[in-house]
Symmetry: C2
Subunit: 255 residues, 2 copies
């Protein structure tokens, strides 16, 4: 039997420690190919590159794994990986990450990491995003690698429904303090943002975006609860964003 | 009573014909302020600017309406509009568009126009995206303006559930050929993409992203059906992307 074909992408670009952690976790389970952005694309969400040409180059080859980088977004990495690098070969799994920072709760819709996993699901390939709750560029991925190694073979064996992907978050804890895994729903919340005003050397104003996640969901079946209580969270993700509960209230607009 | 405060944003930038169409449709219903990108941000989805400073400047003032432009994304426009331009004033409605091109079906998750409307809903403000099914920069917005003028006062009077926004698409038809309005759910579909390979003047390869929408949903309650049959479509949008139907099948991973 042929080994599974695994495409690894991310949004933290080609030098991220989390990328090499994910390669380490995945390499024994299949043939791995890497396609990642040439600079950080955090917060890029599901952006695609429509206004400029895409370029891609092989930048590294090690242990039989080819690493490509591109000027595109995380979603472009999935498209380039399939259409340009792997052509007509059937990809078995797209892994995205391991992201430096949480993609729990509403962070999901800002996340380039998860957008790449979702994009895979739209192209009929299993897509899984891994995120560690540590923004540091030198974050410790020991526990993340442990759980990725446990989950990747299970994921390869599990049939996914159409257009469904997984959002996996790992708490910032030593391996021995992680209590286990919880299958969860998305926590209701929002980002409370500030735009900090500064003045540049030429006297012109500019603003930096900053903020913090506000958790509005006290229930115990959510990603935020799981992470706050020392569990790895796995949220299955789908792409129908219809607010079905509001359809009837809008029917009067049809008149 | 004070006039409603309406923030208008878009993803087609400050010179787009669709922007001025939306101002035309909205200006009689409230106090209008415009904050838009300084260059086209189509396909930017829910991207935010994390790696560079944001700038914003007043570029036009006409009929009592102030127009600002920024180097940010459509989602940044909502944040800048609220936090920098309007400070602590309560915005009653964020209108996004009118987009040059469809945001029906799965295009929703790539759309900067709709991301801005969704962002408003996350900030507890009504958010509505308008899109015309015509990519041309010189598209005819007559019918779009007619329907926006009909819908904006209704929207101002309607209470929205938390974190819900509207995705309104208008078919590319003369006003008299549009049959009415349908409240719809999101059509199941995906983009079938090509990456067209070209060679630049220096002999280097590059790729342009192109593609077409594949409609996988034959039902009559969808946006795609409504648009194909001459109706304006209104899809209520929410942000919980959990695939609830897959949660039980994943429970074995908790072991």
């Amino acid at each position: 039997m042929e080994k599974p074909l695994i495409l690894i992408v991310n949004d933290d670009a080609y030098e991220a420690k989390g990328l090499y952690a994910l390669v380490e976790a995945a390499k024994d389970f299949g043939e791995v190919v890497v396609v990642v952005p040439d600079s950080s694309r955090s917060g890029m969400a599901h952006a695609i590159t429509m206004n400029e040409p895409l370029r891609i180059q092989l930048y590294r080859e090690e242990d039989g794994i080819k690493y490509y980088r591109t000027n595109g977004t995380p979603v472009d990495c999935v498209k380039l990986g399939q259409k340009v690098v792997l052509r007509d070969r059937k990809i078995d799994l797209v892994l995205s990450g391991i992201n430096h920072g949480s993609n729990s709760s509403i962070s999901l819709i800002y996340s380039g990491t998860m957008a790449a996993a979702i994009e895979a699901s739209l192209e009929n390939v299993k897509g899984v995003g891994f995120s560690l709750l540590d923004y540091s560029s030198d974050a410790d991925f020991t526990a993340s690698i442990h759980y990725a190694k446990k989950l990747i073979p299970q994921i390869l064996k599990t049939e996914f429904p159409p257009q469904v992907s997984l959002n996996i978050n790992i708490p910032k804890l030593p391996l021995e303090e992680i209590k286990g895994i919880k299958i969860v729903r998305q926590t209701k919340g929002y980002w409370n943002e500030d735009l900090e005003k500064r003045v540049d050397c030429f006297g012109r104003d500019y603003y930096w975006l900053s903020g913090y996640l506000v958790d509005q969901d006290p229930h115990t079946d959510t990603c935020q609860w799981a992470l706050n209580n020392g569990y790895v969270s796995i949220q299955p993700v789908q792409v129908d964003m219809t607010a079905y509960h509001f359809i009837n209230d809008l029917k009067f607009m049809e008149e």
